[in-house]
Symmetry: C2
DNA sequence: GGCATGAATTGGTAGGACCAATTTTATACG
DNA sequence: CGTATAAAATTGGTCCTACCAATTCATGCC
């Protein structure tokens, strides 16, 4: 903790205690600031700073007049970090797509190996929703949901967290006119990914996902950077 | 912003203004809380909450009595999110390694295509440092630095941000006795990755990195999950 | 029972006081 | 003049009280 050499600040201590409380109690709402201030024996200011920290970390949603709700949106911090690091939307989309091309074929491969029946059901339901939906906003949501479900089916929580963050970032960009209307190709591609997962064929799932993302990149008007031909 | 329906909170507004200030001025230190409170016309409490947010986002380091230093550690939030989501260290390491197996070969491939002369020099210097170092802590640092430099050389900032976060998380685990002493193999593997990057051979770089990470996984005693043989 | 209004509750903000850690300044000594 | 030490100033951390803004709950009316 850079703030002190040895002593831990009250805000640090209290935020840790709130995390423990949330984990131990499975509450869906936290007590009020005033109550916790009395219970923990600290000022309301310290509670505020601690709870604001947890809000930023995606663990709480805080509403004036309404209280604090416990949520699980731990992917939020990455979304904002990426936003801060790469403020330009086009650049960000290019880079996110490259990262997806690395990550998602492996997610699909692992999903083919690890998906439960419930995972497959969710994927199939989502695919059907995507196939049938008409408006752009619902398309974007179903499209991203399909990808997040695959990440979940891979049984890798870090990967899933990354995918949720990427999904948030992508939804913003895709809703801003970066999407051309080629839903039918995406539906076809998703179908191939899903079929390979259902067949437990990891290689096919990875290839189908790679093909899909390559199509999506073209669809979004994002060309890969030209290959360098000069030696160092 | 869940806190209000339409109005943006002062903390939100002020934190945005501080980000703009940091970006516009290239200051390495921020003015004091009291000064900003007067300048922005808000209470010190609001400044505190705003600056604490930026500290958590990896943009500031705050020290009592000393002031606020502007830093660029935007990867920090992901590190803590992963820590919150996957508290068990062994599980986390398994999952991080899987993510690395997806991400890093592509980073190496792109680095082979995009690395500048300066990138290559840094990689070579780092590799030499790794080769010559003796103590475990320096090994871990040089090892992770090599990987982060490759991510930087890929010219993808999102990827680089991810790698920095993964590196932080890994350093913690690797320093806790998860590492067996097989530095020579890692030096050999890094050498192969570097040679492929220098040769501008993306495929070879990706393969060398995949091989390296496979070795590292074995080295760390992390076995892949058994393949499922049952159809859905 | 549904709707409108007022009261209570809960988070948001302001400001002043005081404490704790760091930096700067002043003083003493060789 | 240079160095070490102490004191003062500065800067972040915490506490308290008061008041504002948004939401929820209770009450009254039709």
């Amino acid at each position: 903790m850079p703030a002190t050499k040895n002593a831990i600040s009250l805000v640090d201590s209290v935020s840790g205690r709130i995390v423990d409380l949330v984990r131990a109690s499975h509450l869906d709402r936290l007590p009020t600031e005033r109550f916790m201030s009395a219970q923990f024996g600290v000022s309301r200011g310290v509670i505020r700073e601690a709870t604001k920290r947890l809000e930023l970390q995606g663990m709480l949603e805080i509403r004036q007049g309404s209280g604090m709700k416990v949520v699980d949106k731990l992917h939020k911090p990455l979304s904002s970090a990426v936003h801060l690091r790469v403020p330009d939307e086009k650049t960000r989309l290019v880079q996110l797509t490259e990262v997806r091309l690395a990550l998602e074929p492996e997610q699909a491969r692992l999903a083919a190996e690890r998906a439960t029946k419930a995972d497959l059901k969710r994927l199939q339901d989502c695919h059907q929703r995507f196939t049938l939906c008409e408006d752009l906003e619902t398309q974007v949501l179903a499209d991203m949901e399909f990808h997040c479900l695959i990440a979940e089916a891979s049984r890798n929580e870090v990967s899933s967290l990354l995918m949720q963050s990427l999904s948030d970032l992508l939804q913003s960009s895709l809703s801003h006119g970066y999407r051309r209307v080629t839903k039918d190709l995406a539906v076809d591609d998703h179908g191939k990914v899903l079929a390979a997962i259902v067949d437990r064929n990891g290689d096919a799932a990875a290839k189908a996902m790679r093909d899909h993302l390559t199509h999506a990149r073209f669809d979004l008007g994002l060309q890969p950077k030209p290959r360098r031909t000069v030696k160092a």
